[in-house]
């Protein structure tokens, strides 16, 4: 069997089974994105290495991985929010509805950010400036893209945005300071702010991780509803496999700066084709089944400097063989819209944690 190396991100679409009769145009296309960081001693390390994916109109792609795997850096690189230096775009392209974003100037990028593409963050507590009222901070977002808006117009926009995310008494909320809102309310206000520019793509970087589960359930419901209403595309970054199953249609699993597997969510959970994905799934305790002992992936997530040659997961992989330590497996097409970067994808994932 010959595995085709992914050269075209179009190959990463959901596949014939999932996409309906009318294929929506690609909203966000990322191709071979690499981000390097200059370390304290002057050396450079790749935090994100040749990452490719695409998000179609109205769909949610989950970017899954543990801390340090590069999922947030990928997201910030898309928004061009990484400080340069120490970060450096080491290669790749980002296209938004066909428009190339990698070369555009900073002022042009500012017009895109918050308008065509927007982002919400993990920490609702620190995402707002504590000394300004919520309304004033949202007004900034309105005026950034529509400088001519009258005060009344601005206030009206803000109130309808706050109402759209389910906040009671939007006018009252706009007058409050961030510390007067609970975590869940702040995250709603954050989402309202991100949606002010009516974005085509919303990047969500662990937006519910800091929230209690009952509040998380509220926010997930809200995001699902907003996406349906607006036909918005979402890139949802998380380490929570439960959220992946609930929110996303497709998922990309990252490990040590690379995408190691992509698949439709149902396929991914049903039969992972990478030992790392399989290990993650076997290692979480679950409410709906009972095991005596969790299958734990041995060792630790490697730091930027500790990336091994060959397959980066090999040192922790029970199914690793000689070739795994020598050559890095490419993210290859496995059919059915699936891709896996493993030399033994068909067998290793199942064998590894048996």
């Amino acid at each position: 069997m010959v595995w085709k190396t992914v050269s075209d991100t179009r190959a990463l679409s959901a596949g014939p089974g999932v996409s309906g009769p009318r294929v929506p145009p690609p909203r966000l296309e990322v191709e071979n994105l690499s981000v390097a960081f200059r370390l304290a001693d002057g050396a450079e390390a790749l935090a994100v290495e040749r990452v490719s994916f695409r998000v179609d109109g109205g769909e949610t792609l989950a970017l899954v991985g543990e801390s340090g795997c590069g999922k947030s850096v990928t997201c910030l690189a898309l928004m061009r929010l990484l400080p340069v230096p120490p970060a450096r775009l080491a290669g790749g392209t980002v296209r938004l509805s066909g428009r190339e974003l990698t070369g555009v100037s900073e002022p042009e990028m500012r017009a895109v950010r918050g308008a065509a593409i927007s982002m919400i963050f993990q920490e609702p507590m620190t995402s707002f400036d504590p000394v300004y009222r919520i309304g004033d901070q949202l007004a900034e977002a309105v005026l950034a893209h529509n400088g001519d808006a009258s005060p009344d117009e601005t206030a009206g926009k803000i109130e309808s945005a706050l109402a759209a995310v389910g906040l009671p008494d939007p006018a009252g909320i706009a007058r409050r300071y961030p510390h007067e809102l609970s975590g869940g309310m702040k995250q709603r206000a954050m989402i309202a702010m991100a949606l002010l520019g009516d974005p085509e793509v919303l990047l969500c970087d662990e937006p519910t991780t800091a929230l209690d589960v009952t509040i998380q359930a509220q926010i997930v419901e809200l995001l699902n509803r907003l996406q349906e209403e607006r036909g918005m595309s979402m890139l949802f970054i998380t380490h929570n496999l439960g959220l992946v199953a609930e929110l996303a249609r497709r998922a990309a699993v990252m490990y040590a700066g690379q995408i190691v597997e992509t698949a439709a969510v149902a396929d991914l959970f049903e039969r992972p084709l990478h030992p790392y994905t399989a290990g993650l799934l076997a290692g979480i305790p679950r409410l709906d089944r009972r095991v005596e002992r969790l299958a734990a992936i041995p060792g630790n997530v490697p730091g930027l400097r500790e990336y091994p040659p060959g397959c980066k997961f090999a040192p922790r992989c029970p199914a690793a063989r000689e070739i795994c330590r020598e050559s890095a497996p490419p993210l290859a097409d496995r059919g059915g819209g699936r891709h896996s970067a493993c030399h033994f994808a068909e067998t290793a994932a199942e064998a590894a944690w048996a």
Partner: protein, 364 residues
């Protein structure tokens, strides 16, 4: 679970911790945060009792009260029947040896200026003063081995370790005094998924080998189900439901427990959702709702839920629920008798129904 729990090791009766809110020029008390209110529970030898609930429910304060890092406003904590809140001198030192904490954040709970060896040996200096330096070091190496680290780690510094390894060091430190009871406050919450599974397995292995009792405080219910024998669900300082882990998770009784369980995202794309989404936030702890504290968010709330404090009542199967839907014919504010109606108290669970709430003898 592998171990069969033994007799009660540590328990609390009518335990409350209220924090005064002071304001104004003279610091007059203008309100009270009832962080923990009238809590009665026990943890048996070799048992994992988990406290779950959302932030601010009082689960961490309970953990601190069980360790005597905090003194109760009312009620008692008893270790093998002896009240720890009045302990002094040798008795208190002995208690400190027997009860140890493991904290959430392995990055801030280890002293960055102490080597791993020094951290693990520190407790031995106090609790086993007769041990020689070499003896202490040998013990520290043994403890590290017990938690899956090699002796080479003794002279290394916390910053050289990953989160999971640091949590192993934290466990070795806690085990250095040969404790019988460990309060693990969100001990696996800060860890990555792949490392969390390792530490969960380690906690279970240690319990089996050493017969440890855990008070496991966590918000991740899937982890709790996996590790626990019994579970208590807290909301705004009150215990809302308590029961065996299997029964509680397969058939939650209290509407809050149900909502909490249904809020967990299920890692199964094919599963039906059927989610109960609670509206609003947890009310402020200094102004809890009258009557049942959950009634403002409860999908089954009735007018009489607000009329009087709802009691935690034992059900036929030994579980306890604080809800008018379960066996509280009429809201009776009178705490007459022994708390639970006759026939509902559970045999073989000392300290459950009998000693009740003659509390408030101890006020700090």
């Amino acid at each position: 679970m592998g171990v069969t729990p033994g007799e009660p090791l540590i328990e609390c009766q009518g335990l409350s911790r209220h924090y005064p809110i002071r304001s104004g020029l003279f610091g007059r008390e203008t309100g009270r945060v009832r962080a923990v209110d009238d809590l009665t529970l026990h943890v048996r030898r070799g048992e994992t009792y988990s406290l779950v609930g959302e932030s601010g429910c009082g689960k961490s304060t309970t953990g601190r009260l069980f360790l005597r890092l905090e003194l109760p406003t009312a009620g008692r904590v008893l270790l093998r029947g002896v009240d720890i809140t009045s302990m002094r001198g040798t008795a208190l030192r002995r208690f400190r040896r027997l009860a140890q904490p493991v904290f959430q954040d392995p990055f801030s709970s280890l002293n960055p200026r102490m080597t791993v060896g020094a951290t693990v040996e520190e407790g031995l200096v106090i609790h086993e003063p007769d041990l020689s330096r070499a003896g202490r070091r040998d013990r520290a190496a043994d403890l590290l081995a017990l938690t899956g680290l090699d002796a080479g780690c003794l002279d290394r510094w916390p910053h050289e370790f990953s989160g999971g390894q640091r949590q192993r060091v934290g466990l070795a430190r806690a085990l250095s005094t040969r404790p019988e009871f460990i309060v693990a406050d969100e001990a696996v919450s800060a860890l990555d998924v792949s490392v969390q599974a390792q530490i969960i397995n380690l906690l279970r292995d240690l319990q089996e080998r050493l017969g440890l009792a855990y008070l496991f405080i966590a918000h991740d219910l899937a982890v709790v189900k996996h590790l626990s024998h019994r579970v208590g669900v807290m909301y705004l300082g009150h215990l809302m439901e308590e029961g065996g882990a299997d029964a509680l998770f397969s058939d939650p009784l209290h509407p809050y427990t149900r909502a909490l369980l249904s809020a967990i995202p299920n890692p199964d794309p094919g599963a039906g959702r059927g989610r109960i989404i609670l509206s609003g936030d947890v009310p402020r702890a200094d102004r809890p709702p009258s009557g049942c504290r959950f009634r403002t968010r409860c999908p089954s709330a009735m007018p009489r839920c607000g009329e009087a404090e709802v009691q935690l009542l034992a059900q036929a199967d030994g579980r306890k629920v604080r809800c008018l839907l379960y066996g509280q014919g009429a809201p009776s504010p009178a705490r007459a008798g022994k708390g639970s109606p006759p026939g509902l108290s559970v045999p073989g669970m000392p300290g459950e129904s009998a000693p009740a709430r003659d509390a408030s003898e101890k006020t700090v």
